[in-house]
């Protein structure tokens, strides 16, 4: 619908090269994607390849007494059947902790855990053979309710793990102005005239990227191989693959195949090691591609969470203290649970100023599906609770809900709950005010189109029983990897003359997952080098790490690396030109070298005629720091990104059906490198957040997933999705390249709480759990 870019401080640029930063050039892969020619990881094919499949555990927790592969090996067309005994290196993987076998050894810890592999001529042959593998399980007691995982009598998910079933806990404590030492415990108990509290529960969301986990491993005949795979971080995959295979990085080369979406679900390994094991064993190229049901077991999900919040405030609504107790279900293996807990703790009270803070966040092991990264990473769950509680507080003190947020919202120069100075824009009041001030959608027509009503063409209402509600939310999120992580990216830029024209080639290993990084890389090269033709080198491990395509970090970090590499190239080109013309003071303008007087002294192609200029740069953002283990204080994050949403919903209060009528956003992006792509990120992110509020949940009962399909796990369709009005603000972050601020995650965080608030407004119900189900609305 309406999109506006507000740009208070963007510097104008001088040259005429099209497709620079601030423009919105088209994606270089767009044509291939609309014609079906773009090669995704599931499209790969190789002469003489065979297919790999995975046998998975049917039990949430069981001991493996024995595995008999005899019958499976007899199936004609089968080339290999592998178990943990066939793993040549260390049979452990994991992003933060090496706690997960790539194939189960003596114990399985979740339903769906990989147990054995089969390679065969045809995928159906492999599947049938896998069914003939006989695994003798002894079922063990399982931890399926994370709220009991830390009880003394809870079964141990990982025997001997220090801390039992606790993966990580974070404590945030801050001084309060109204300190009053409690006589008995010694804990500071803040006082506030107004106290509000609630409990909230967030269900397990799935990334539901459309391209299935898939890839092709091709052995090189010398003990090594090439793996073509869809991922978010080639280099960390390579480390993990090499560890399990016992190979050096030179022998296990990774290449990014076409990625059909990611959203965090491709940070952990899926087919990677399995395809490589089968390829090395058979000596044949091996393709693996999950069907959708297997995909639900083949990647981590967003952590379900249980949240208990209490805010204290002055009678005018000014916050005095914030307390939160947050529990994340990490599932059977840690994945990135530690970092999610870190985010939930350090960011869990939202973008507000609290004089006094008491936050505990914990992540625990259970025998539920492993949980890890998903867009919004620990902030999504917390946002539902703090935004619901801000509405409760607003109503209690009689202050408008938007006004209460504006009054307590962070601004530049404030310190957040870990004591970190917010040293760039934090326009909380402006963002929430902007969404409030946007025009509201028209009231429902007297004779509405069925497709605009809750229930749609199911024809469940013509407007009777339908009530409209409006809800607001404002949230914030860290950008980049935090808590002292060495977060860098590597870029190589080569400038040379090809067919008489200067051409730049940019190479990074940073994964393009659909977000448009390759377009951004081209734009930065055009901006810095003034050339029109920029080739993006295929993504692989022949250049240094680009870091993960997650945490909204690639335009910032890999963008920073590409800019730095371009600057190094440009300096060499200008030095070469200066030597040729006998004086300095030169600059690049378009494809010309220009002197201080503006006169062209040489063509770029002419200067490059004597040889290509090729530079590789590793680039880091400002360092972050670990937080204090007792107080949680510290400069944990490098950048914060803020967004606000207003949702308007029509609810059929008799049937519990919801139609989102409008979902409007205001977000500060620092500097929009590619404004159209920025808007695309906000639109897509908003709908994912809406999905969690309304319909998306992996239902797990006693450790078993009940709905591993797109029939039963619903994601929003185009009929479920409203028009979106988006206002993009550009307040440059002086510490970031070009002033950019991460874009991808914030809208996923603020949209869901706004939708939930709108449903509460329409129904008058508390709705302390998402996704909101029809029975929660009707009270049946």
């Amino acid at each position: 619908m309406t999109t506006t870019i507000d740009n208070p401080a963007t510097a104008t640029t001088g040259t005429g090269t099209a497709g620079r930063i601030g423009d919105s050039p088209l994606r270089p892969d767009g044509t291939l994607k609309v014609t079906g020619e773009f090669a995704y990881s599931s499209d790969l094919w190789h002469e003489d390849m065979c297919w790999g499949v995975t046998l998975r555990s049917p039990h949430p927790h069981a001991r493996i007494r024995s595995i008999d592969t005899t019958d499976a090996l007899k199936v004609p067309g089968v080339h290999a059947v592998l178990t943990a005994d066939d793993v040549p290196g260390l049979n452990r993987v994991g992003l933060e902790h090496l706690d997960q076998p790539c194939l189960a050894e003596d114990v399985v810890r979740f339903q769906g855990e990989p147990v054995a592999l089969v390679a065969a001529d045809h995928p159906e042959t492999a599947r049938r053979a896998a069914k003939r593998i006989v695994v003798d399980y002894e079922v063990l007691p399982a931890v399926t309710d994370p709220r009991t995982a830390l009880d003394d009598d809870a079964p141990e998910v990982h025997a001997g793990h220090e801390g039992g079933n606790l993966v990580r806990e974070v404590h945030i404590r801050r001084e309060q102005r109204t300190r009053n030492e409690h006589e008995h415990s010694g804990e500071p108990v803040p006082e506030a005239p107004v106290v509000v509290a609630l409990d909230f529960e967030v269900g397990m969301q799935d990334q539901a990227f459309l391209g299935p986990e898939s890839g092709l491993a091709v052995p090189d005949g010398e003990g090594g191989l090439d793996l073509y795979v869809a991922t978010q971080w080639l280099h960390v995959d390579q480390q993990q693959v090499c560890r399990v295979l016992g190979l050096t990085p030179e022998a296990a080369r990774l290449h990014l195949a076409g990625v059909g979406g990611a959203f965090g679900g491709r940070e952990d390994l899926s087919i990677h090691v399995h395809a490589c094991l089968l390829a090395l064993c058979t000596g044949k190229p091996v393709k693996m591609s999950y069907a959708r049901d297997e995909s639900f077991f083949g990647h981590v999900h967003r952590h379900p969470a249980w949240l208990r919040y209490e805010f204290g405030a002055q009678p005018d609504g000014t916050l005095v203290y914030g307390h939160a107790d947050i529990l994340f279900d990490g599932g059977a293996y840690a994945s990135s649970t530690g970092a999610v807990v870190g985010n939930g703790g350090t960011l869990g009270l939202g973008p507000y100023n609290f004089p006094s803070v008491h936050v505990d966040a914990r992540g625990v092991y259970t025998n539920n599906p492993p949980c890890g990264a998903m867009r919004g990473f620990g902030c999504v769950q917390a946002a539902f609770a703090h935004e619901a509680l801000m509405d409760v507080l607003a109503d209690r003190v009689g202050v408008d809900r938007v006004e209460l947020r504006a009054r307590n919202g962070m601004a530049e120069g404030d310190r957040n709950i870990t004591g970190q100075l917010i040293d760039s824009a934090a326009p909380v009041a402006e963002l929430i005010g902007r969404v409030r001030d946007m025009p509201l959608p028209a009231t429902r027509a007297a004779d509405p189109d069925l497709r605009d009503l809750p229930g749609g063409v199911a024809n469940t209402t013509h407007g009777e029983g339908v009530v409209r509600g409006v809800g607001y939310a404002v949230t914030y999120k860290n950008v980049g990897f935090s808590e002292g992580f060495d977060d860098y990216s590597t870029a190589r830029v080569r400038l040379e003359v090809l067919a008489g024209e200067p051409v730049a080639t940019v190479q990074t290993a940073a994964a393009e997952v659909g977000q448009g990084l390759i377009t951004v890389e081209q734009q930065i090269c055009r901006t810095e080098l003034g050339v029109e033709r920029v080739v993006v080198h295929p993504k692989d491990t022949t250049v240094g790490s680009g870091g993960s395509t997650s945490a909204s970090r690639q335009t910032y970090v890999t963008g920073g690396a590409v800019r730095a590499a371009c600057e190094a190239v440009r300096a060499r080109v200008l030095a070469r030109a200066a030597a040729a013309v006998g004086h300095g003071g030169l600059r690049l303008d378009g494809e010309k070298i220009v002197g201080a007087d503006g006169q062209v002294v040489a063509g770029l192609a002419e200067v490059l005629g004597t040889g290509a200029v090729d530079e590789t740069v590793e680039w880091r953002h400002r360092p972050t720091a670990e937080i204090d283990p007792e107080t949680g204080q510290g400069d944990a994050h490098v950048q914060y990104a803020f967004s606000a949403h207003r949702a308007v919903v029509d609810v059929d209060v008799e049937l519990g059906l919801v139609k989102v009528v409008a979902l409007d956003t205001a977000q500060d992006v620092g500097r929009a490198i590619n404004p159209d792509a920025v808007v695309g990120q906000i639109q897509g992110g908003s709908v994912q957040g809406m999905g969690l509020a309304l319909m998306e949940e992996v239902v797990v009962t006693e450790g078993r997933v009940r709905n591993p399909s797109f029939t039963d796990y619903l994601i929003p369709t185009i009929l479920d999705t409203p028009p979106m009005r988006i206002e993009v603000l550009e307040y440059p972050d002086p510490h970031a390249p070009y002033g950019v601020r991460g874009v991808g995650e914030p809208p996923t965080i603020s949209s869901g709480p706004a939708v939930a608030a709108a449903i509460r407004a329409a129904t008058g119900r508390d709705l302390r759990r998402v996704p909101v189900r029809p029975e929660h609305i009707t009270g049946v």
Partner: protein
Amino acid sequence: MRIELTVNGTTREADDVWEGESLLYALRERLGLPGSKNACEQGECGSCTVYLDGLPVCSCLVAAGQAAGREVRTVEGLAEGDELHPVQQAFVDRGAVQCGFCTPGLVVTTHDLLERNPAPSDPEIREALAGNLCRCTGYEKIMDAVREAAGAQR
């Protein structure tokens, strides 16, 4: 079994087809046409949409054998030479493509919609495309693309 069918105007044969294979599998793995996508393989996502005798179908729900002797048109068969079909061009121009995995199915479904209804209203577009899931875009730019394609074809 061996099946013979017409794909994008050309007669094609596939040998050793297992009876349980879908048309989608045959197109992708036997006929070298992986443009139709395999996101759910149970008829929920629309990413595998192709024309079968002129009607759009989820090719994952059609047995390969059922397509024998019939005409299939896939996303690979929409462009005229190097020139994109206006629907394809609109998806590129309007930024309706992010990861693109849903795009082939959406392009075929939109192509079919505009064949039947050259000037669809917004609710008509949404209803026609409701069987095609997209996880990246939030559908707004897809709406823009369909409106633009409809305008371009008029």
